[in-house]
């Protein structure tokens, strides 16, 4: 399965049901409260039963993802970051060594090719920092490879369509 997660509406045509497109701005997702229930009470399941629980199983089951997010302070802006924080039920509490560093064990999370498309104000070192962030994410979110693309907001539909076309090749 392949997944497009966007923090804003996109005008894109999806063919085939192996691709899922989710506009996070239409969903109701509260922020993670750090209760660790998904690790220590109901493993694999978030205690907050809002729309995020429809999304993290899809993240886990995808071997390719496109994440579209506004950039803020060199990171994901609120909508995308809220979802990424709510995705920790896909990991175990337990820690392993990965590339010499400590990281959580993933549950059934497919290794994925990730394309991260960031848009918005890119001034003052935001791009460099964002690239470093995604390289950190790669370890914790099971990206086997990733690309970061910076785009104008007006180009997003076209950029996403180009990336989806690569999936179809």
């Amino acid at each position: 399965m392949k997944l497009i997660l966007s923090d804003r509406p996109l005008d894109i045509k999806i063919t085939g049901d192996h691709i899922r497109y989710i506009d996070l701005s239409l969903l109701k997702i509260a922020n993670c409260i750090g209760c660790f229930g998904c690790w220590t009470k109901t493993p694999g399941r978030c205690v907050i039963r809002d729309d995020a629980v429809k999304v993290y199983p899809l993240i886990a089951a995808s071997d390719a993802v496109i994440y579209v997010s506004r950039i803020k302070y060199g990171g994901y802006d609120t909508v995308m970051k809220t979802m990424l924080e709510r995705a920790i039920p896909v990991q175990q509490a337990f820690i392993q060594i990965l590339n010499g560093e400590t990281h959580h064990v993933q549950r059934n999370v497919l290794p994925k090719k990730a394309t991260i498309i960031a848009y918005g104000d890119m001034s003052g070192g935001q791009r460099k920092l964002f690239e470093r962030l995604v390289s950190r994410n790669a370890h914790n979110m099971n990206f086997e490879s990733y690309r970061v693309i910076f785009a104008d907001e007006g180009q997003l539909d076209r950029k996403v369509a180009e990336e989806v076309a690569k999936w179809e090749e």
Binding site: G74, I88, A93
Partner: protein, 203 residues
């Protein structure tokens, strides 16, 4: 009035490790402490005017700053105090390597640069989920006092601390820590180790 105001950006601020770190910092009485909540952003923005130094205490969340803090910074950007305090950071993360906090610290530095705040000191804590209840608590306490001294003397500096353990030993210790955590909830290590993620619920 004190010189330092502490804002806690943990999403579980009232029960957070960040709060416990802030308490060690505040053994010195000249601080004012607040949890960042969804509803108090503007009040906190107003309070900043009275302090020369702001210490933001928060956990690493998904390799960056938690949404709780991100949203506060966005409000602060729109509602800056007339006099801007120097911004220092006390960050903790669950993993052993304190350097995993670097990106989040640089996000705060970027906020400062974009909004005309001077960046002050930083203390990066690794193994921050468990270190306060470990024999290594004194190491953190010592670093927090150094952080405080650096802020109070305006000799700003970068500090870090983590458990002085080989990685493998840390992994074993963390496995015991989390196994105990589950046990208190009546959940076994095997249950916690499930590879299953709840199935997608119909839209």
């Amino acid at each position: 009035m004190g010189r330092v105001i502490i804002l806690n950006g943990s999403p579980r601020a009232p029960r957070s490790n960040s709060k416990r770190y802030a308490e060690i910092f505040s053994e010195n009485p000249k601080t004012e402490y607040h949890n960042i909540a969804r509803t108090n952003h503007l009040t906190l923005c107003d309070r900043l005017a009275d302090f020369s130094d702001l210490l933001i205490v928060f956990p690493l969340y998904a390799d960056g700053i938690p949404v709780t803090l991100l949203n506060f910074l966005k409000t602060l950007e729109q509602n800056p105090p007339p006099e801007k305090p120097v911004v220092s950071v006390l960050i903790n993360c669950g993993f052993l390597e304190y350097r995993q906090n670097d990106v989040a610290v640089d996000m705060i530095k970027l906020f400062c640069k974009q909004n005309g705040y001077r960046f002050g000191s930083v203390l990066k804590i690794g193994s921050g989920e468990a270190i306060l209840d470990s024999p290594f608590k004194f190491l953190v306490a010592r670093k927090i006092r150094k952080l405080r001294a650096s802020i109070l003397s305006a000799n700003y500096r970068e500090l870090h601390v983590t458990m002085p353990l080989p990685t493998r030993t840390f992994v074993r210790a963390s496995t015991s820590y989390w196994t105990e955590y589950g046990k208190k909830n009546g959940v076994t290590k095997e249950q916690m180790s499930t590879m299953d993620i709840e199935k997608e619920i119909e839209k």
